[in-house]
Amino acid sequence: MPVTSVSPQTWWTIFRISLEERLVYRADFALGTLMRFIPIVTQVLLWQAIFEALKGDDVAGYQYNDIVAYYLLVLVGRAFSSMPNLSEGIAQQIRDGQIKKFLIQPIDLIEFLLITRVAHKVVYYGIAIGPFALVFFLCRGFFSGWPDAITLAGYATSLVLAFLLGFFLEAFIGLIGFWFLEVSSLLFMYMLINYFLSGHMFPLAMLPEPWASIAQAIPLQYLAYFPTQVFLGKIQGEMLAWGLTIQLAWVICFAILCRIAMHYGVRRYSAFGG
């Protein structure tokens, strides 16, 4: 499968057009973005009730403040690693034949999707940064202060890698559409497992065995749990460097899997719906 070498100017054009497209339905997009903050309130209230019932005991080393801080940071991680509509979009394009555009034109599908996704995220952050800043300001009491520069740099790197991992992982699921055509059930399973094993629901330290070991062995923790632990200073020094290396390795692994799926998928492709 030939891969195009897209020039920076092409990247910029795709980025700019995606940005413009994203801003067409601005009201819907803004509303959708703001709605994502509603679960914060319910989650905080839930943990408040749990800790009141525990009367001062901790849960797997987490106090109420730690949990709220953890949950807020997980939201940031998810804002980078979640890829709404990526898998379904790819499978849909395979099903209805629209994907042939990328087989005919001198542009690489995965590269194109990556650029458009960066544009979508930029628009999302542009809208969400206000509410995020407000929520973090209101909840500043739950944090024990700003981490040092190295931790912050590690955190920023882990977020970028979380974005790339989320992208390649979900793109890979979408490309399975070359074989299954419909991937919604597969995606539902992935989302369900992801919800627990990425640390979205609760810190992975709370998981019993064998789930704790499973969570450690698979890449999902790098989507939300790992960046959060980095920010909270629970992973530092050599452990941080090692963690980032493993995270990068997973990114490369899924990028390669995407290429393989694309290569064999296109051979299998019969141009359905075309």
Partner: protein, 342 residues
């Protein structure tokens, strides 16, 4: 030298064969039956540079599959093909920069944005120099009468305007070879006429090679000197438009104007097509036209008589019908005839 060369090209699809009913659906969860559909069988074809070739055939004849094979979208089951020296399904970037495929109503434009944004993206991905891009765009916009529409979101354009925009997008990089799959499908007569006029002018001006599939005979008559008829995945005919009538038009049409009422026994002379007394139209076997005409002239008084070739679309519909047989062919015949009368 041929710019497109196809030798023994075949494509067989494996299609899930589902039986009717809920029980069959449940059985299908565990055991699926597949059947082979031979979309294209052992096709040989050479197209020279600058030719405008029409691919005609009933639905499912293999026309679109052939274009998909030549565009590199799908791999063949067997056979070889070369377009401008490239093997299409290797999808080399050099090849992708030099051809275009337009599939009627398949959108390559960004739906929510003005077409000019999509064109700008094409400029980048095809690496078209800015002055060349602007000159080509101006020329295409003028030829297709699209002034003032470039800044309008694509979703707000009419079907005809969208099709024209698709054509602009596919021609911005000045492809040497263009594959057109039903470029006028769904368009009204005026829009069809505009697109035909544009394609004719553009092809003559640039001397590009075009392969076109269409159900509209008017497209074919207006644009192509060479016609390839494909049915059941096989090439049935390859030659000029008029040659189709010579090869497949086994009959002629006699229009007879009687001095009195049209006689009732006309069906003894041939197939009665239409009677509007005192006028009648008779379909007669090509070899017996003179004999039949002599018999009628000796028996009745005629005011006027004319002998015509059957309409092209009727002959083509019969070719389709002779291959497909049965009901489906009859449907195709109706489709060709109704499209021709649009």
């Amino acid at each position: 030298m041929a710019i497109i060369e196809i030798n023994g090209l075949s494509k067989t699809y494996s299609v899930y064969h589902k039986r009717e009913g809920i029980a069959a659906s449940i059985r299908g969860l565990f055991h699926r039956q597949y059947r082979s559909v031979h979309a294209v069988r052992q096709i040989d074809l050479q197209v020279n540079e600058g030719e405008f070739v029409a691919f005609l055939g009933p639905n499912g004849a293999g026309k679109t599959t052939t274009l998909k094979l030549l565009s590199g979208v799908i791999h063949p089951t067997e056979g070889t093909a070369s377009v401008m020296g490239y093997v299409p399904w290797q999808r080399q970037i050099g090849y992708r920069r030099r051809f275009s495929l337009v599939m009627g109503q398949k959108n390559q434009l960004w739906w929510d944005l003005p077409a000019q944004e999509s064109f700008r993206l094409h400029q980048q991905i095809y690496r078209i120099e800015r002055p060349v891009f602007e000159k080509t765009l101006d020329e295409l916009v003028e030829l297709l009468n699209l002034q003032g529409l470039l800044g309008q979101p694509v979703r707000e354009l009419s079907l005809g305007e969208r099709m024209k925009m698709e054509l602009v997008a596919s021609l911005l990089h000045s492809p040497k070879v263009l594959f057109l799959d039903e470029p006028t499908i769904g368009l009204d007569v005026v829009a069809q006429h505009n697109v035909q006029g544009f394609l004719r002018h553009y092809q003559q001006q640039r001397n590009i090679t075009i392969m076109l599939t269409s159900h509209y005979m008017k497209d074919v008559v207006a644009l192509c000197r060479r016609v390839v008829i494909i049915t059941g995945g096989r090439i049935m005919y390859d030659g000029s438009l008029s040659g189709i009538i010579d090869q497949f038009g086994g009959h002629k049409l006699l229009t007879l104007q009687f001095s009195d009422e049209a006689p009732v026994d006309l069906k003894n002379f041939g197939e009665l097509v239409e009677v509007q007394s005192p006028r009648a139209k008779l379909r007669v076997d090509r070899s017996s036209v003179t004999t039949v005409l002599g018999q009628i002239l000796s028996k009745y008084n005629l005011v006027d008589v004319s002998v015509e070739e059957p309409p092209l679309e009727e002959v083509i519909a019969e070719v389709f019908a002779s291959v497909n047989g049965t009901h489906e062919a009859e449907l195709n015949k109706q489709q060709v005839l109704s499209n021709a009368s649009d």
